[in-house]
């Protein structure tokens, strides 16, 4: 290994007065990583499902997202069409290969839906969230063919579909599901936690939406 690596680790050990071979320290570190215990979990998100989803919607709106609830996946295209129309946006949509999104009845709308990652020219992007967090109105999206990460950031308007049953109370519950999906200690390339549309207050602490990412974030919660 590199000389720099040896020096850095060596200086850390000298400063701490350790060798790195102490069994109790190694056991403590391995045990802590293996256990991955949650710490203090706010009571706020620990609610039964109807109240949990309601809290998610309230918190997402507080972060300047808009939220619509629909009764089934079949109603999603209609809601997306309404959102585009009401905001005077073109009837185009870019989505990934997500089978749930692909199976929705887009033919009943006039929206021109294309599939694949964004090259930066798309006005509207559509994703399905891996999960959501009621505590702070946060979406969790994972990278991959189904929902390319570029759709989360390049289009001006980001529409995200999330199933009510995927709304968790806290981040830790979502991290647990990520572990179940990808295996302990393994992660997708990108896990995005998204709370509201892009913003900056860098000029005179005046908050303006749409800094580099989407100017609008519209969340469609599917209750089915």
């Amino acid at each position: 290994m590199s000389e720099a690596r040896d020096t850095v680790l060596g200086t850390i050990r000298r400063s701490l007065g350790v060798t790195g071979r102490e069994a109790p320290r190694r056991d403590a570190v391995e045990g802590r990583i293996a256990a991955a215990r949650p710490g203090v979990i706010p009571a706020r998100g620990q609610l039964p499902e109807p109240a949990r989803v309601a809290l998610f919607c309230e918190k997402a709106e507080a972060s300047a997202a808009t939220v619509a609830r629909v009764a089934s996946a079949a109603e999603v295209p209609g809601e997306v069409a309404r959102f585009l129309r009401d905001n005077n946006l073109p009837a185009t949509l870019r989505r990934g290969a997500d089978p749930d999104l692909a199976a929705m009845p887009w033919g009943g709308t006039t929206i021109d839906v294309t599939a694949g990652p964004s090259d930066g020219s798309d006005i509207n992007g559509l994703s399905r969230a891996f999960a959501a967090v009621a505590e702070s109105g946060t979406l969790a999206l994972v990278s991959g063919q189904d929902n390319p990460t570029s759709l989360n950031f390049l289009p001006d308007n980001h529409i995200v579909v999330v199933a009510a049953r995927d709304v968790a109370g806290d981040y830790e519950a979502v991290l647990g599901r990520v572990r179940d999906r990808y295996g302990k200690g393994t992660m997708p390339r990108t896990l995005n936690f998204v709370t509201g549309p892009s913003r900056s207050a860098d000029i005179e602490q005046t908050l303006i939406l749409g800094a580099h990412g989407p100017r609008r974030l519209h969340i469609v919660v599917v209750d089915d």
């Binding site: 020096t7 680790l9 991955a36 706020r44 990460t149 992660m187 390339r189 995005n192 005179e204 990412g213």
Partner: protein, 479 residues
Amino acid sequence: MTIHPTSPQFKDNAHRALEDRDLQKALGHVRQAFIAKRAAAAEALPEFEALRDSARDIKQHTLENLDLYIEAWEDKVTAAGGHVHYARDAAEAREAVLDICRRVGARTVTKGKSMISEEIGLNQAIEAAGLVPVETDLGEYIVQLRGEVPSHIIAPAVHLTRDQVEADFRRHHTHLDASRDISSHYSLQAEARGILRERFLAADVGVTGANFLVAETGTSVIVTNEGNGDLTQLLPRVHVVLASIEKLVPTLEDVGQLLRVLARSATGQEMSVYTTLSTGPKRPDDPDGPDEYHVVLIDNGRSSMLGTSFEEMLRCIRCGACMNHCPVYHSVGGHAYGWIYPGPMGAVLTPALIGVETAGHLPNASTFCGRCESVCPVRIPLPKLMRHWREREFERHLQPAAVRGGLGVWGWFASRPKLYRLATGLAMRALSIAGGNRGRFASLPLAKGWTDYRDMPAPQGATFQSQWKNRRAQPKRAA
């Protein structure tokens, strides 16, 4: 190649800052915006204080086992297809980034906001190598146009007014219509968005910092509101993460704890808009993301802070709450501190990184009001650590002779209580009489540093010690 510190000229810097009208107008936004927002966010979460304890304990535990967590993290980064580069100092860190850029034939390098990048002077090195560094955080972009460094660790351009930003944009964006209206915050942001969007799409290498490195998974975490950090790491072929060694945390759950105090302490948000966990390069079937993922793990003086009283400073998660609440920062802004890190955290960290002989003024630029410690999400005892630097400064004879002499005289009296009481009692009576009807002094011998700027009130009544003694002697009243 790192910026030349002007910390030794702190007093001159502060004088200039106090007379700078634009700066004073801009600093009003710090005083108004940050404090109320943090207070409201803390108030709205009953578990906030318990989360601060949890955050402190996580960071402290990790520091005490840092060697082992780094090894565990490195194994995971490598297993995910990433590369770890160790850098002992700023020069090695710059070289590691430039090596990567040269190997892939990079021309432009986009950058997410990173204080460690400022610390190692990366932009200057990239330019010197003939490449173009592009800061993409709005505040960092503005500061880069002006050839400045950030004046705040989370709000780099907080020292500027809207009018100044408009003037900078007009000076630099000369390809745009000179008659365009960019007088509003919105239009300025929209102009920067348009210009930087092209840069994002054209970049060869993207450099971000890291708020956390996760040992459990080999993940780096960045937190932004703009989304610039994400476009920086998503679009180019190569993603380079710059991180100092104290960014390690054990698990994803530990990140959850720290996130809950980070945004609340920084901007008063419950969560920043984008919290992004990145692990390795894109996977074989990923349609987007970088082909290469590198982490440059930087020491640059931190490993020597472990095991000393300054170890606690390494818990810092760079939220900026200490400077947002600091009356000295409110008065003089960040540039007066003369290097990279301003405010109370800078007053403790800067002497550790560039030497107390260069940065000795900074731990003295404090009113010791204690607000910084009271809002620190990881409970760093900042005033105590500033006092430690003052003691070291004294031990190493770095202060002017008059200060050392004065402290010596005071110390001689203070260690002789009876004499001390007699002397202070006499001095008080003399000053009280000399103060006369006015009750204050416009000038005093040996106290010019005070009376040049405000009157010195004449003491009244008894000394603190005698008042204390009298009160202790009185029977306690029932509550």
